[in-house]
Structures are given as structure tokens and as C-alpha cells.
Symmetry: D2
Subunit: 343 residues, 4 copies
């Protein structure tokens, strides 16, 4: 059965496995002090053009969000996010589990704007009861968003300027960072991003790794004792080498970016195919996730041959379905999908 | 200066002080096992017509909400509430501090409907990722709401039926319960309410007491070890007698209801005055809180003579202001206000 | 029945009730901005000789401990305390509920020493895994302790010096502060104490008030946004006047100290009586709590006429029992107890 | 440099890597619903002789402890543990981060006894203030302990009987389970263990895997919605296959037990060598961790050639050092150590 369900249903990029095998008999320090983690950090700093970044490797996305947000906020602070944001919906209350409110703003195509955030802050600051309200301490964006859309250079610039004006942190969830940066529509690169937020992470799990996310505090601004905070969150990997070797591989010879590019290019093929099959799109996504409106009977038919996600009902007669490509999607899979959709 | 800012800017009803004085030299058991607490519980059960209720006295509203919600929910559960609900906005993240998400629905006139809740639950249950989402475990309503509005018998009946169908608890925040029950528009009484939810509280702080809220679990359904839960929340009063004596007084000779009635009747006078002064209302409140739209220049003028709350800007030229009466509002105060408004 | 069970089984000092009655019809600001709270703060600062103290009124002891400790610590920090300390045992896990470990040291007569704390810190600092350990952030002492004992000037001086050397906060739980300060053995006064810790509280609930504890941050060092932290803990009193009026009364004409002195003087009578009755003491307490070893059969006999607490079995034949005097203990009660014990 | 620092400084057992490579191109379901996870669960159930076990795979030890303990306890409950237990010391307060107190008992050789636990429970139950105390809800044991020692059949039987009598859960941390079960001194096997506790986990990280712990709820007693609880803890692996493939491998052809046996046999060699070198032991450990007392000057000398852990000072002249073997220790390494120690 063809599978376009998500970007984490394969193993790892072969070079990662190769390096895991190659290094397997080498003993190392633990908890992230191994040589590969050190090397990966240097390469990531270089890719970000940020000598003074603080870098940590964690295991998965929800864990990373909860740990970073809890680490950067004071106990009484909440985080501003899109109402469709991953932390707002699909993390089973992990941010709240550590005591922080997620303050949601209504998203448009998965995004929130500087203007919306400023409106919220204005209302907050003018509220006579503002000391009775969870204090906003951070803005959280996803790049790309849960709907595959991306923020433009100007949009991020505006949000970050606002954040600095209001003394809020800006944290960018990059679980699919590569797919955003490498899509044609993206008008900035990694160093620019690293210059325009306080913290972001480079998603590995969805971009070629078995597991692992690289958290980048962009200007030596890791929270005090962040190592202990990671441990307290149950997020410290004993064999830190597992993440280290993977990110060392991904940031050698541009691998992370190349495999990301492959996925978004394949997604363009996917988009064309779906369009040719006569379907329209819920929104215009330039990255590896495509949200397409499919009549209910056609959904049933397709389900027999392809795995995809049923996102939500569009109306009574059709459904918004998600198709996802990844670093691992092959031309053969695309050809099979073509046959299914167009014959 | 006249003060219509809120319903907790006075001391206590004189009979409460009288009884505090009268009992002052009597020694008692502590932590709520005193004779007055026992007596108050019996009277409240009687007023609710619920022999099998479990009753606890806590100190304030936010504390009560956080303790009851945390006590009734499992760790992984959240609470469904209006986006204007007290727990959603004005409790500084106290519910989240104990690890629970507040799942907000867009309110209309401060209220949410059974239909809205059911829509949410339908989306939740049909979400392929529903196990990745904070599980809904409770519906929280305020009666009256933050906008002074009330739910009708049918509305509460529908919400409670829905809750039972979906195995959710229904918890009603009655910080101003008396002002809701005694307003003309209310089409049910306390025993009916006690029959149509799992837990509610009878607000004392805003209805004549110095402090204190009486939590009523309606059918011997207090969470296991709720006493220890109260203690863990820092909400256990050492001198439980302070709450006991107050609620014993409030539930003697119908006092709680009579003083509540006084406040809503006075609010009707207030409403008339504001109308005669030419102001229109943000919404139609039948209880002791009135939200009135006042031109900005008039706001500035009134401020010099009356204290009230600036709720939010209505438009560029006018403001929504809140005026509140209480059990303590005197006819003299009303007369002075009349002079100010109508001369 | 005679009652020596605890120091919070009476109402309030008559002057407090008098002032509650006197001020009852005066409207006020809420949430602690009332005139009496302001006045009480000024008087407490004066009594502490600390113009630059930050003062907050909370309702009860466990709540105060949990709020102050959570407010002063970073998320990843724990608090060092005696294993008999109130937060270690009798607060139902309230400190842990906000995510902080209580790091316990074995107490002697209810106390821990600077030497013990330093030993702990030495082991911690030399532990190769110290970043995997809850980081010590504060020392918590009770004054007087749960066993009625007190720290000497030198002992507190040593602990505070140590704290400053290791950059830990020193927080002193003064739920029974008056009974400690006014006992004969105490070799310092309130201003000296305020000079030798970062935060302490002046217990009202056990020293004449209906409820209320006054938290004193000794050098403008209240945690950022402590007001919101109090709210988040459900500890903000809507009618702040209740605490304000009480503390205003207690710190007028030395009342707090005089009634405290009365309790410790009465405790000396109690001690003499128990000694004359042939009982020995579990330890030597100079304050209002006395821990006396009573043969089991005698315990049964006494129980019929006097209420006291059964602390724990001393051996198979006798029990450690606690007798407590308070600001409210009368000479008549002492005379009755004499009859019971010595006839 | 020779490295006897710990049992997680190597990569993975070669068969694990082989299977990761072999399955790499096979697409799978995510979040633990993949075929290998399913297969691994069946094999583990068989190895435990527990058809009705519920099995979950998590990433690391601290995470597993925090998630299981939080999942099995009610909010107001604490966990009884040795004061040397991993959760008591080396998890940076992860259990407290989710609101639970760790109730510590003084350990002997890393262990606590049924008798000690019962004494604690007796004191608790007879405490007049027991409702003010964190309620004991679980006993946590480590097998083997942090000092390499193991509980005997009788000791575990007694603790589990006690737990059932007092309605406490028994949870056994098996981060090094294989090394305990396969040591000569162990008088029970895996099925017997699975019959004598409510939950335990089979450590992978320290026994041949890159990461991963298999949690076994022994009698269909997984907490309600444990999947969501895992997610809320940030502990759900998106690519569940990573754990699945590893445990499928470890539980094929007895691999887990064989490599564990290798480690404990090598540890016996290690023990002999250290003894021949004239050192005495801090305690008698039958498993892969050896705690040996080494004179300070000798420590300095050895450090140049071997990595080991400095546990704590034994006295002024010598140090307790930890040497650890693992599934990966080679005979060549042992021979080199022999040379260093005995020549």
C-alpha cells in the first residue's frame, strides 16, 4: 500500500545508519558530551552563522516544546500561539503539565500575525485586571505551520521586532524546518532565521533522523541550568551519541538541506497530480504537506490503495485530506500515485 | 466617593459579624470540624434538598476553582469553558498551574451552549489524533456569567444531559450564585440546580461574607481524599470556624437569598437610572452587574464622582463600563447616583 | 472540656473583632489595596525596622509556604529543610505540587544546623552527577520549630552567612513567630531577624487572628510579579481588608508581642504543672508548645478531661503528648488544669 | 583509554543495528503501532509468561519513572523509595515536577525492606494528622539497586504482599534488569518477577540498545489513557519503530539475557582483579557495578589509564570508586585492566 500519511513513517537516511554502524564500537562520554555531539554543534553553529549559539539535542518534538517553553518562561508566564499550533492542540496538554497557559490567537492558514499579537498585547496592557491574568512571556510560531504554510521574511521580522519591544521571547518550532527553508517560496535562509528569534529547533525526526531535535538558543541565551531542566523533563538522552551522530551526519555536506529539498520538490509533483485529478486545495501550501479537498466517495476509493490522513470534513460531501511527502519519498511511489489518481 | 466598582468592597453582613463576636470565646475543633461548619453543612444540604451532598468550605473563588477542577479531573484531562470564563482569563493560570488545560469555546453574552460543546466533542471524537489531545473531562459554567447573564433552566438541562452522555463532569462556578438565583429572569431554584450538575459552589465572598465559598458535590461524589487535595492546594483553613460561622449565618432565616434579592432589585434601579441618563447597554444583564456603553468624555466626568470599572473600549468614542450593586448597596447611594446621573 | 490541643481553636483577639465591626461599613479597594493593609504594612516595616521591605498578606500557613517557595525558586530548584519541617511532613505535598523537591536533613530537636547544610552542599558540589540532581535554591527554617524549640542568634547568623556564601535564599516560616520572639530564651528581636534572612512571615492565624500571615521580603526582594504568583496559587484575598484590618490591629500598641508573651508565660506555668505531676519532657521547649512523656494509662485518664495531641509513642508504655497554650489561654483554664493534674 | 565508567558508553548490540538497517526502507505506522513494536510486545509477554500484560516503549529511564509514577498515582499521592533510589537523587526532581512527593526511607546497601515500609505505614496510619500528609500510593524499588545489589525472592515477595495489604502499587525500576536477573545470586526469573509487582520496566539503554525502556503493566492494569499520559510527558516516540525494532531484537533468541549474563560474568572477573590488586569493596555487589575502596594516590594513578566514577570519599585517605562492565565489555579490555592493576 502506498503511504503518504506523514513524514516519519520511514527509517533514517542511509548515511545516518552507516555512521551509527561505523561508530558503534567507539566508546564515548555520555549525556551529550560525546565527540559527535560536539562536532554536530560546531557544524550547526556554522550553518546558522552563529558562533555564540547554545545547542542542545532532545529526542522528540512535544518534549522539545515543553522543555524549551518551560525553561524560558517564568512560572507565572504563558505562551502566545496560534489556535492551530502544535502546542495548542496536539501535545496532550504537555505545556500545561508544566504549569504554563497557552494563550491562543485565531490563526489564518495556520499563521498568526504581528498585528494580531499586538492587538492582544494592547488589550492585555490596558486591562485593569492584567495582574490577574497569565502574563504573556513568549510567542511561539511553527515554521512551516501545521498546514504546511510558511511565514515570510517580513512576517517573522515584524513578530520579532514586536517581541523585542514587549520583552517577549520568540521561539520557533522547526519540527519540519528543512521543508520550510528549502521550499521555493521561502525568502530567507537559516542564518537569517537564527538572527530573528531567540530560540528555534531543527527537526530531525521528520527530516531523516530516527529521532532527535536540535535546539538552538541563538545568542548564548540558554536558560540558566538548562541541562538540569532537560533532565527534570525526562528529556536527557543517556546515549547522547545517538542524537550527536545523526545531526553530525545531517549537517555534513549539506545533507539536511538536500533531503529537505527533495521532499518539497516531490510535493510539487504531488500537488500537480492532485490538481490534474480534479481536486482543489484547502489552502496553498508550498511545503511537503498538502491539504486537498476530496469528495467522500472518492476518499473511500483512494483509501484502498493509499494511506493518507483524514484531516476534517470540508462540508457534507467532501473531506480535507492530508498527503505528505518526505526526504524518503521515491519517484516510484510518485509514479504509482500517478497511476492511481489519473487512470 | 460613590463606589459601584464591585460586590466585594464592603465588609460583611452585620449578622455575620454579630455571630463572629458571639462565638468568639467558644473553643472549637479545627480544619472544618467545628460545630458551626457542621451546622452550616446541614442547612446548605437542606436548602439544596440534597441529603447526600458533600460540602466543603474554601476561602476564595480562584482557589475553589483550581482545587475542585484539579480534584475532579484526571491528570491528563482538561476543562471546557467559555473564553470569557473566569478560569480562562482572570485566574493568572491557576488551573494550568495544576497541569490542566482550559479548552475554550467562543462565548456569546458570556455563555456557551450545549450545541457548541457537542460540536467540540464531535470534532474531538472524530479526530484521528484524539489521543494526542488533552482529553475533555469537565464542563465549567459560571452562574451568573462574567457579564451578569444567566443560563436558563433549559440551557443547563441541555448541558448536563450532554455531560452525562459524554461522561463529563459539570461544575458550576457560583461566585455570585445568589445574584443569579434571585433575579427575576431565573426560572429555577437551588434544589433544581443541585439536581442538574455534579458540583457547584455557593459564593460567600461576593454575597455578604468576609471570605468563603461553599463547595457542594451534589451526590456523595466528592473526589477521593478531597480533604488532602484541599490541603495540597494550600486551601485548608486552620480556623474552619471562620467559614462555618459565616455560612451558618447566611443559611439561617434565608439570609443569603434575601440579601441577594436586595442586590438584584437595586441593580434594576441602577439599570433604569443609566437608561434614563441616555446610555445604552452592552448586553442585557438581569443580575447585579451592568455593562453600559458610555461616551469617553462622559466617562471622565463620571469618574470624578463614582468608582466603576472600565471594561473595554466599545469603539473609538465610547467605553463599556461595569457598574455593580451588592447586598450592601444602600438606597442613599442609589439616590446620590441618581443625582449625579440625572441632574 | 479543657482544650490544650493547639493555638488556633479560639476565635480572634477581641480588638480584632472590634475593628472589623468598626470598619465594616467603610468601602474599600480590593485585593490588598485597602487603607488598612497599607497601614498595616507601614507598621510592620517599622516593627521590623525595614523601610525597604516588601509585604504581602496571605491567608494560611501552607499556602504561604507553597507560594513563597515557588515564587523564590527557579523551576529546577528544591528547598533544604528539616525532615520534621512543616513543608516536609504536614502540607500534603503542597511544595511538590508546584514542582519543587523538599531536600530533607535529619533534624535534632526540630532544628538543622549550618554545619549540616554545609555538609550537604559539599557533597552536592563534589558530586560528579550534580547536574542530574534537584538544585538547592533555598534553606527553609521554622521559628519556632514544630517541637517548640528556637534557633539562637548565632545559629541563624551561621545559616544566613552560609546561604549568602552559596547564593541560597533563607526563608523562615514564622507561623508562630511571636511565641518564639517573646520567649525568654530568645536572644534577638524582630529587626535583627529581618536583617538575617531574605524572607519570613509573621503568623497571624496562630497568634490572635482569624486567618492571615504577613510575608516580609526583607530588602525589596519580592519575586518579580509576586502579586500574579499569589493569584496563580489561588492565594489572593478579594477582600484584602480582612487581613489588613487584622494586622493593623496586631501591630498597634504592640498587641502582637504582648499576646505572644502571654502565651509563653502561660506555657511556663504549664511546664511547671506537668513537671509537678511527675512527667518528664521529650525535649526542652521554651515556647508555647510542650511535648511531655505520659504513661499510656495516664493518657487515657487525662483524655477524659483535657484535649491534647497524641504526638507519637515514646516507648511501649508511654506516649509523647503535645500541650499548647495560646494568646487566649486564661488563668481559669490553667487553674482547672492544675486541679486535674495535681489532685 | 580504558573505560569502565558506565554501561551506556557504547553504541548498540550489532544485531540491533543490523535490524535497523534491514528494516530501514519499510514504511510503518507511527507512535508505536508498527509491526516490530507489536512483535516485541508479544515476545516480551511470552518471556514474562504474562498474556495479559500491557506493554509500552519509552525512551529513557528518568522519563519512564516520571511517566509511570505520575500515571499510576493520584495527584495527592507520593511514592515510597530508598533515599539512594534513582528517583530520590539523580532525576533532577522529575517526579516532583509532576507534583508527587518522593517519601524516602533510609536504605541499607541500596535496599529498603518490607519491615521498614511497614513501620513507615504504621506511623502514617496512626498519625492524627495523616490527612495533612502526602498519601503513600506506591512503593518504588530498583532492581538491581544503584549499588549493584539485588533483592531476593523473599524480599520482593514480602514487599509485594505488604503492598497488596495496604493497597499500594509496587513499581520496579529495571533500568539494569538483565544484569540483576542473570547474576548468579538471583533466586527468581522474569516470569516470577512479573507475578510479584504491578509494573516494572525492562531497561534497554543500559543493556544493549541505543535507547528505550519497555514498561510492563503486569495484569492489564495500565492506567486509563496511558497513551495520552505518555504524550503529555513528552515521552511518545513518533518513530515508535526505533524502540520496537530494538526490543524485537533483544527478545529474539534470548539475546537480552545472554548479553546481560556476559556483563555479570565479566564483572566477576573485574571483582577478582580488584581484589587481587589489594582493594576492598564498599559492599558486595553480585551484578555489573562494583564499588571499590581505593587509596587516593592510587586513584590518581589509575585515572591516567582507566575511566571510572568517583562515587564519594570513603575516608580522608581513600575513595569509593565505581567500575562498571556491560554487554559490550571485551576480554581484551579485561586483559588490559589486568595489566594495569596487577603489574
Amino acid at each position: 500500500m502506498l503511504n503518504f500519511e506523514c513524514d516519519y513513517n520511514n527509517g533514517a537516511h542511509p548515511k545516518i545508519l552507516e555512521n551509527l554502524v561505523k561508530t558503534n564500537n567507539t566508546q564515548s562520554l555520555t549525556y551529550g558530551f560525546d565527540e559527535w555531539s560536539e562536532r554536530a554543534k560546531i557544524k550547526i553553529k556554522k550553518a546558522c552563522n552563529k558562533e555564540d549559539a547554545d545547542i542542545f539535542f532532545l529526542c522528540g518534538g512535544t518534549q522539545t516544546n515543553a522543555t524549551v517553553i518551560d525553561g524560558m518562561l517564568n512560572s507565572y508566564e504563558g505562551v502566545i500561539a496560534s489556535d492551530e499550533g502544535h502546542i495548542s492542540v496536539h501535545e496532550a496538554g504537555a505545556v500545561e503539565a508544566f504549569g504554563h497557559k497557552v494563550i491562543t490567537l485565531k490563526s489564518k492558514n495556520g499563521k498568526i500575525s504581528a498585528e494580531q499579537i499586538e492587538n492582544y498585547l494592547n488589550v492585555f496592557e490596558n486591562d485593569e485586571s492584567r495582574d490577574h491574568v497569565a502574563q504573556p512571556g513568549m510567542v511561539y510560531l511553527t515554521f512551516p505551520t501545521e498546514f504546511g504554510t510558511i511565514y515570510s521574511k517580513k512576517e517573522i521580522y515584524d513578530v520579532y521586532s514586536l517581541c523585542r519591544r514587549y520583552e517577549l521571547s520568540l521561539f520557533i518550532d522547526g519540527a519540519r524546518l528543512g521543508y520550510g527553508l528549502m521550499c521555493e517560496k521561502c525568502d530567507f535562509d537559516l542564518p537569517w532565521l537564527a538572527d530573528h528569534c531567540d530560540c528555534f529547533y531543527i527537526g530531525g525526526t521528520k527530516v531523516g533522523a530516527l529521532c532527535g531535535e536540535a535546539v538552538v538558543f541563538t545568542h548564548h541565551n540558554a536558560p540558566k541550568r538548562f541541562f538540569s531542566i532537560i533532565k527534570r523533563h525526562g528529556a536527557l538522552m543517556a546515549k547522547g551519541r545517538l542524537a550527536g551522530i545523526q545531526f553530525d551526519t545531517l549537517f555534513t555536506d549539506n545533507l539536511y538541506f538536500e533531503i529537505s529539498k527533495h521532499a518539497v520538490q516531490t510535493a510539487q509533483q504531488l500537488k500537480d497530480l492532485l490538481q490534474q485529478a480534479g481536486f482543489s486545495f484547502y489552502l496553498d501550501s508550498p511545503t511537503n504537506q498538502q491539504f486537498v479537498i476530496i469528495p467522500n466517495d472518492k476518499v473511500k476509493e483512494l483509501e484502498k490503495k493509499v494511506i493518507f490522513t483524514h484531516w476534517f470534513p470540508f462540508d457534507e460531501k467532501s473531506f480535507v485530506c492530508r498527503f505528505v511527502t518526505s526526504w524518503a519519498t521515491t519517484q516510484q511511489e510518485m509514479d504509482e500515485l500517478r497511476k492511481i489518481l489519473l487512470s
